[in-house]
Amino acid sequence: MSISSRRPRRGPAPGMPERRFPLTLVILSGGVIALVAILGVAIYNTTQDRAIATTAIEGVKVFPGLDRGHQDGAVAYEQTPPVGGPHNAAWLNCGIYEEPVASEYAVHSLEHGAVWVTYRPDLPAEQVELLRRQVRGNGYVVLSPYPDLPSPVVASAWGIQLSLEEAGDPRLNAFMRKYQQGPQTPELGAACTQGVGTPSQR
């Protein structure tokens, strides 16, 4: 008797189709496809547009190294309107104001993550209404007229400022979406209520 006839048969009987190889190939292909799909999702997710947080808004100026101390009384700020610096111990409640507000309170709100949108007091009524429509329904925005503003509309966050010619500029909304409680916020988690001021709307 030959050796081969005593060993148990491995593989298909003579005349039967060879099946092991295609099954392994099917499993292997299925697995590779699944892994490629998972890898594809992973790569897609990491390249997802974190647009709000990372896209630069054209025209934005940055002012680093601002003081954060509390100070009573009037403060002389370097920017108009100010983007930071010493401020009152009380912050200004976020919302829409029809009269100018004291900068010393508003700057504290910037420290809490608020965006301060200011406009020239003589801005046409429909522009003011457009500003109010855009600001309404946001939790961390102050809107107020500001005398002697260098541009018709200026949006500020802590250490950050954008001058605009008109209320309809899409950069205003982009600024609000990016900087409300945004990466520039020195005191993230602080509230924009329970401070001073009574906004007519929020």
Binding site: R10, L28, N45, Q48, R50, Q180, A191
Partner: protein, 213 residues
């Protein structure tokens, strides 16, 4: 002759073990990949993300109102429920901010709060802050100017509406996501605020006042 006879026997044996190894390796990789996929954080647009932002904004108004009244009322039963609301909801705001940060997402989203879609009674519809119980600032401001007893009644009326909106929002989110810490918080909000509504209805009745329609 001998070599030719043993080779056909040995080749299928090696092939069998190799095939099994390949199958096991591929199955393991797919399982690990699936596990990885299931533990990924949500992306922008996910209901868990929208809920975290919308409910935080909603809670902020509740905290504001509760503390405004607490500054003025000395009714001990009311003061207790007010501080309870304020502390609980402020903590939940913190919880939701923590999730967003852990998910690598900004606190503020591409849309203002409560301007997305909600599900109610099996239907999907556009939501507004008012629909979800956000009260007008002009009403909230009255809490600081009305005589205290009237401010108490107004608070209870506004907050019952406010709570109903939060419950709607939480229920909508439960129908849109199965993500664990989010569903737990949504359920906790529903249970907690339903119970607070009942308490506030009693406090209104004590004051001889009615809910708003």
């Amino acid at each position: 002759m001998t070599t030719m006879e043993t080779t056909p026997n040995n080749a299928p044996e090696r092939g069998g073990i190799t095939n099994i190894l390949v199958i096991v390796l591929v199955a393991l990789s797919v399982a690990l990949g699936a596990l990885w996929w299931l533990t990924q954080p949500p992306q922008e647009g996910d209901p868990a993300v929208t809920f975290s932002r919308d409910m935080s904004y909603h809670h902020q108004q509740a905290v504001e109102m509760a503390l405004l009244l607490r500054d003025r009322t000395d009714d001990p039963e009311l003061r207790l429920i007010l501080i309870d609301m304020a502390l609980t909801q402020q903590a939940q705001i913190g919880q939701m901010s923590g999730w967003l940060e852990a998910w690598g997402l900004p606190i503020t989203g591409p849309q203002p709060p409560m301007t997305g879609q909600m599900t109610h009674g099996g239907e999907t519809m556009a939501m507004t802050p008012e629909m979800m119980g956000i009260q007008p600032q002009s009403e909230v401001n009255k809490l600081t100017t009305l005589p205290v007893s009237e401010a108490e009644v107004l608070f209870l009326q506004l907050m019952i509406r406010h709570h109903r909106g939060a419950i709607l929002m939480a229920e909508s989110t439960l129908s849109q996501t199965q993500r664990a810490p989010v569903t737990r918080l949504a359920q906790s909000i529903i249970a907690g605020q339903e119970s607070e509504i009942a308490l506030m209805q009693k406090l209104l009745a004590d004051r001889g006042a009615q809910e708003l329609p």
